[in-house]
Each structure stands twice: as C-alpha cells, then as structure tokens.
C-alpha cells in the first residue's frame, strides 16, 4: 500500500492503464507537455512519448470525435475535457455518437473510450466551471458514468473503465484533489456498477457520490452522537447503477436520504429516489428525502457557494427530521 492524493491518483491511473495496454492513447488540451491545467497528468508524456500522449488545440468536438474514430479503429483512447462544464460544447459527439454507434450499427461498431473530466463546486470557479454534468450523462443509454470519491477507487475504477468495451464518462471531483488515501501498488480494478457501503448502519441509509461521500460520513458520525445509526453508500458509478446495494440497505433501515451535489431536478438522486419509490416502496417507512443544491447556477461569492453545496449540517438535519 502507498499513500497518495486524488490528484496524483489520476496520473497514476492513466499511467497504469497505458503500461498495461499499448492501445491506450491519451489526448486533451494541455495534458502532455504542460502536465494538465490542474497538474493531474504530470509525467505522462515523458513516460509514454508523443505518440501516445497528444496535446490538442481548444477543440472539444474534435477531441471527442478523434477519440471515437480512433476507438473504432482499435485504439483505446482516453480523452480529457478540462472541466465537466465544457461537455456542453461536445455533447453531440458523446450522446449522439459515442453512445449510439454500437446500437445503430447492430453491434458492428464498438467505441471503447474513456472521457475524463473533473467537475464540482466549492473552490470559487463560479457558474461556468463548477458543474458535474453527471445526470445528463446518466440519462443517455450506451454511456457509462463513473464518479470516484477517493484515490483507490479512482485507480481501480479507471482501470475498469479503460478495459470496458463501452464509452465511459469518468467525472473526477476537483474539491477532492488534495484528499489522500491508501492505494495498492499492484494493479487492480474495481468493477463498474458496484457501490461501496462505506459505513454500516441500522436506522437510515445515506446515498452519495464524489465529494458528498465524505460529507455523509461526517454526517453519520454526528448522527451517531444522537444515537442514530446511519449507513453510507458510495455509488461510485451512476451507470451501471447498483440499486441492489441500496435496496438491501433500506430493507434494513426503512429510511433513505439521498445526498447530491447539484440542483435536485432530474439529478441522479431523482432516479435513485424514483427506483426506490418503485421497487423499494414496501421497505419504506418514511418519505424519500433528498439533500441537494438549490435550483440555481453556482454562485461565485464564498459565502454563497458554501450555502450552495450540501453540508454536513443539512444532511444531519434532514436525517433527524424522520424522528
């Protein structure tokens, strides 16, 4: 085991994938020589050379297109989109092409690409640099969606994403870049679609992703002081969605609070809530609750942004409202 932060884990994950499979190539803006706008890809061009690590112009549509086309020809491209917010500039390539080509061609064409990006609020990047885009991705059949919350998961899920035959949107969270964790030195992979129960509990299930996982873990600790035992589930992937871990949990706890960064409407939390209210209905003793950001863009001012991102206090309050 070695300790590394989430930022370092990104470069490590890419490097491991590139070492393991010569078909893996990596492209994006400033990812090579500069080592990434957030220094998340430092060292890769030195190790793998210019034939495998490519700096591109500011051309998100071309980046995604190039990845798709190269994948159709047998490569395993990793494409970086610098901020998740920029996915709007190349959404057609992702949603209408990468995700649909296999189906439209009746299985003749495969698009095994990983689109890495980072998203999320909390650092003062304002409305056009703070979104996750996770729900939009999740709504597209044919696209897998990964949202790692810690360095080890990041590396393991990344390996699975690169090995996967389908296009995967891999959304890191920029507020986690400095979070440290233990990572196995040997190669490993975490299967896509398996949630992690990061804390066991009896009275209540908290479901979260990314930067909301540590928020829920802290909330669970606070709740335990009030004699409420909360189970915390880190979904890790949005597609495939591991509902069975959630259903097993609520069969025990009968109560759920979904904690989601970003506005509630049509978020991943709506889908989890909708499925819970359908197949999990008979387990429920109480309404399905969500703690989310308000229905607004992300404000810039520090004090407003703090109110925008769900907090430990809000999670605790929502949980306690059951009693």
């Amino acid at each position: 085991m070695i300790t590394m932060n989430y930022r370092k884990a990104i470069a490590e994950a890419i490097a491991r994938a590139m070492r393991r499979d010569p078909r893996v190539v990596f492209l994006g803006e400033d990812v090579g020589k500069p080592g990434g706008a957030f220094k998340t890809t430092v060292g890769l061009r030195d190790e793998f050379g210019p034939n495998r690590v490519w700096d591109t112009p500011i051309s998100e549509q071309a980046i995604i297109g190039a990845a798709i086309g190269a994948a159709m020809r047998g490569l395993r491209p990793i494409a970086e989109i610098m901020f998740a917010d920029f996915l709007g500039t190349c959404w057609d390539g992702i949603a209408n092409h990468a995700a649909k080509l296999r189906y439209m061609s009746n299985g003749q064409v495969s698009v095994p690409i990983v689109i890495r990006t980072h998203g999320g609020a909390g650092l003062g990047f304002a409305a056009q640099h703070s979104q996750l885009f996770d729900n939009l991705a999740m709504s597209i059949p044919g696209l897998k969606v990964v949202v790692p919350s810690n360095p080890a998961d990041l590396i393991g899920l990344f390996q699975a994403a690169v090995d996967d035959p389908d296009p995967v949107l891999f959304i890191e969270h920029k507020a986690l870049f400095d979070v440290k964790g233990e990572v196995d030195e040997d190669p490993f992979s975490v299967p896509l679609g398996s949630a992690a129960t990061v804390r066991q509990g009896e009275d209540l299930t908290l479901v979260a992703t990314g930067a909301m996982v540590p928020v829920c873990v802290q909330a669970a600790e606070r709740l335990s002081e009030q004699k409420v035992s909360a189970e915390v589930i880190d979904l890790r992937c949005l597609t495939p969605l591991d509902m069975s871990t959630i259903l097993t949990s609520i069969a025990k706890t009968s109560r759920i609070v979904i904690v989601q960064e970003g506005p509630a409407t049509c978020g991943w939390g709506s889908e989890v809530a909708a499925r819970t209210a359908d197949v999990g209905f008979n387990s429920l003793d109480a309404p399905v609750r969500r703690v989310t950001s308000p229905p607004t863009p992300t404000p810039f001012a520090a004090n407003l942004e703090k109110l925008w991102v769900p907090t430990v206090e809000r999670v605790v309050a929502e949980a306690m409202s059951f009693w």
């Binding site: 051309s59 297109g65 086309g69 159709m72 390539g93 296999r102 061609s105 064409v109 495969s110």
Partner: protein, 306 residues
Amino acid sequence: MKEIRAFEDKLQQLFSDGLVRGSTHLANGQEAVAVGAAAALAPQDVVFCTYRGHHHCLARGMPPEAAFAEILGRLGGCCGGKGGSMHLTDPSLGLLGSYAIVGAHIPIAVGSAWASRVNGDDAVTCCFFGDGTTTIGSFHEALNLAAVWRLPIIFICENNQYSEYTPIAEVVPVVNPAADRASAYGLKSVLVDGNDIEAVRSAVTDARGTAAEGNGPSLIEAVTYRQSGHSRADPGTYKPAAEVAYWNTRDPIKLFETSLDLPTGELEAMNRGVEATIAAALEVALASPEPGPEALLTSVWGDAPT
C-alpha cells in the same frame, strides 16, 4: 454509377409506394464523386459518409440487397434494420458509418486517421460531406486538428449546390465553400468537376498519395448537383428550371457514357443487367423478415449478452 442510379430511383418509387419510413436522401447526379473516389482508394482504406450516403456505400461494395433491406427495416439489412437509411454501416468494407448529424462525423473520421498515424498503418481515411456542412463548427475543429497533426485523411466536400432547400451561396460568404477555405488550414485549394468521374479519381488519387506519404490531409471540393430534392418528400420546386436543365446536360452518367463511346447495343445490355441486379436485390430485401423483438434490447452495451 448506373447501379447507384437504379438503386436510388427504385427507392424513390418504394417511397411513393409507402414502403420507406422516416427520411431518405438520394444522391442522383452525384454518382461520379462516389465512384471516382472509390476507384482511387485501397482496400484497407476507411470511408465515412452521411445520411446522403447510399452512393458511397454501394460504390465501396455494399451489396444492394443489404442496403435495401436496411432502408426497409429488415433483419437482412447491413445493420439488422436498426440503423435505417441514414446509418448504413459495414466495417468489413471499411464503411465506418453514415451519420445523420451534419458535420459530426468529420471529427470522427479525423480520429480514424489519427489511429492510422499512431499505429503506423497504411490505411487512408476518406470523409465525405456536403457544401452546407462547411458552416458548422465541427468541420472547422476537425480540419484544424487534422492539419496540425498532419493526418492521413482526405476530406471530400460534395458541393451539390444546396443545403436542404437553401442555395449554398446564400449561407456562405465565399464562392467555393470548401476550396476557398483550404488556406485557413494551411492546405492547398483543390476544386474538381464532381460530375467527371476521371477528374474525381485523379484528384483523390493525388490526395491519397499525399496522405500515404505522410504529408497530411487534403481538402477536395467536388462541384456537382443534387438532381433530386433534399429528402424523399421534397420535390425540389425551388430549383430554377434553367439550372436543372443545365445540370441535366451535365449528368455524370451521360458524360461518362459519351466519353466511353460504346456501341448502343452494349450500353442497352448493360442497362438491362443493372436493372435486373437491382430488381433482384430488392426481391431479396423484401423477402427478409423484420428483426425479432429481442433485437430491441441488444447491442446497447458491449459487455451484455447480445
């Protein structure tokens, strides 16, 4: 070219008979671009085309029965009926797809050329698109990237004078929507008569050589004419009669036949042969069953049983 023409004419008829659903875009008048280019390409080469792509697929060797069956939504179609007219695909022929979002395939084609560059293989990628497509952002991004990375790709703009119902001159500020923009990407301006099969073949042969020798992309504008309307339901009444008449005199098939100077008997025999081939292909397609209901759920994911 004749086979393509006969195929498209038959389609128009099938549409009138109510057998073709959705949208179909014929390439009548543009056959020389497809056949001339196909003649210049090698078997390992890769072709990307659009919703108006039947001619490219047939020229590249797609059996007409597979194309018909696809357009009719039958199991025997090249995509098992799941793609339809706008999405003919057959990787075994290097046909990596027909795309229905204007311009979206150009960056994808660039990716294919990039793969050749990374792998050091000798496949050249050929990407077809229309004149109207030169005004969309993905065209610009793709051309710029291909030029900067000097990728082995041939961009062929089929300037058929119309972007749907709008004459191209009304929506671009230059005379030749592709050729006049080559210099913006550091490329040579190449303009050819798209109704002259030999001219097309020669230009694409040159471009293929440039790509294969590692000298990067070419942008060819082939000037031609869309004899039909934009899509199956469009009679094209907005096209000036004189324009239509002029381009009829420049029909690529007629021009080629004239240049061949064959005895009439031989030509008629050829025509009969083509008609028979197409009629037989349609029979095969019509005999193909619909896809089974299980096909609805297959081929969404690569790791699920299909």
